[in-house]
Amino acid sequence: MRITLKYFGQIAEVTEKQEEQIDIEAQVIAELLELLYSKYEGLKSKDFQVAQNQELVINTAEITGAEIALLPPFSGG
């Protein structure tokens, strides 16, 4: 399955990109994160939430969405 990953704030500093498309076999978010931790070592020490199609999801959520975003702590306003 092809998904678009989006990175923001200090997460994008680690990945050194804001967006990428990857093909995955992962079924749940946790599996995807394992993949990303091996690709981007620095992510392990970062605090972030995951949004799937613009809704926050937990690690055990099934991957259904075409767009998955890694969101560091919100600091608007």
């Binding site: 989006k6 923001f8 704030g9 200090q10 613009q54 969101l71 919100f74 600091s75 608007g76 306003g77």
Partner: protein, 147 residues
Amino acid sequence: MQNKKPKNVFQQGAISSEFIGNSIYKHQTKTSIGAHNIFLGQVRADEIDGKTVAAIEYTAYEAMANQKFHEIRESAFEKFDLTCMHIYHSLGAVNVGEICLFVFVSSPRRNVVFEALEFIVEAIKADVPVFGKEIFEDESHQWKVNS
């Protein structure tokens, strides 16, 4: 004023005092309003480890953020007897002393505006994917954390 579709809340750069004054002016034709309450977030020159913040550079997951702003707006209209509600947030660099967040609620009576405004501002801080990078005067930076 209630708008069922997500609008774009973001503005490039700081929100000017003229924009705010003009927004107030536009509400003077709405003669059922008795009370306005306005929250403004201003960039503080915080000193951290001897370095002073010069600006905050905002980025956002814009589509999700506008959707969240929309949900906050809908839920505030449901909870409170509001005539109008407007939210504007900056993207990009906002210098210290400049305004990065403008929330404006209006109601026939004052009793609801205080509660409504606080509800909206707290929801924005908690639920909207906006990210502030504090740029110091020496051009180093750190990521802002809301408290």
